[in-house]
Amino acid sequence: MAVYNVIDHQELTGTAASWVEDSISQAYDHLLILASVRSNRAAVYDSLKIGFNDADTAGDYGHTSLRAGSATPTSGRNTAQAPTYIGDMNGANNLADSFSNVKIWVPHYTNTANFKQAISQLVHVDTSVVTNEWGVELDAILFKGDGGSSTAAITEVSLHTGTGLFVEYSTFTLYGISD
């Protein structure tokens, strides 16, 4: 089997509130999501969130972030969001036709012994250098399973906007990585 395998690829032809991939094969060792996204929220950014296994209860997730959108990088932690926030992506008031890059690694997603961890990289770009009209963010994502105490394998993954919609031409690629 090849090391990199395409599980799903979508390019939006209209707007969408989310991208969802269900019934993910358990034949791989790791998952990699690469996305190029923008929201139509009438602001310079919109939240980007990730979910697993349709879990939608606060306490199912946590994230620990390191980000900069100004001269002072900050770190935060939140365990009350479902799906959980992984940073700010480009919004409708950012530079026209500019999109955010998103990379998310989900290692050992089929194991049933541990809570799942993932790590994400997200950039929010603009020609403006005004605070929070740009941003870079790294997030450690914790998934404690549907109900907050499950070590079940990941079979579903989704990306969501905050208040806007993903715009046309946003792309989502899910790879399965084999050993």
């Binding site: 090391v3 395409v6 980000r67 002072t72 950039v123 770009v125 250098v129 870079v136 031409y169 792309t171």
Partner: protein, 174 residues
């Protein structure tokens, strides 16, 4: 066809002023650069110098904007700069055998409806250590052309030092 393929690899057996890739195929979904470099100017200090990545024969810095957060081991900093093209740090020849490392992603590079966005992770463990996560956008007017050419240079406008290595990968989506 494999999902990830090496498009170009350059092993720097001698000091090299720049690395240029032309006629890049438009058949992939994403591009990724994995590199290790050192600045090659022997009269430079061991301090930090930066890697620039230009596209589509536009080597004018005002066509690019970057944002980053970085740490030096003692100090952390965030900043954004208009008219800037830097995707992380290395040192200079007096600091060998230290070399900087870079992984740079250019997603959906062939889409004619998008500006080109870069994201990069970089580290350097030499005399002036650094770790950085950097964003960049190419915004020459409304140029949304697919990326078909790339030029990598040291922002110090000197050579890449021999011993560096870089590979450009293409990732398919089908």
């Amino acid at each position: 066809m494999a999902v990830i393929e090496a498009i170009e690899t350059d092993y720097l057996e001698a000091d090299t002023p720049y690395i240029q890739w032309t006629s890049l195929p438009q058949t992939y979904e994403h591009l990724q650069i994995r590199a290790t470099f050192q600045d090659g100017n022997a009269i430079n200090s061991a301090g930090n110098f930066a890697l620039a990545v230009y596209v589509n024969n536009d080597n004018n810095t005002p066509s690019y904007t970057k944002g980053w957060m970085r740490g030096s081991g003692t100090t952390e900093l965030g900043s954004a700069h208009a008219a800037s093209n830097e995707f992380g740090f290395f040192g200079a020849e007096p600091d060998i055998p230290f070399y900087g490392v870079f992984v740079i992603d250019i997603m959906d590079y062939a889409n004619p409806n998008k500006l080109t966005t870069f994201s990069a992770i970089n580290g350097y463990g030499g005399t002036v250590p650094m770790v950085a996560f950097t964003s960049g956008v190419f915004h020459n007017g409304a140029d949304k052309d697919a990326v078909d050419e790339m030029l990598l240079v040291s922002y110090a406008t000197s050579n890449f030092l021999r011993g560096g290595c870089v590979t450009l990968y293409g990732l398919n989506s089908s």
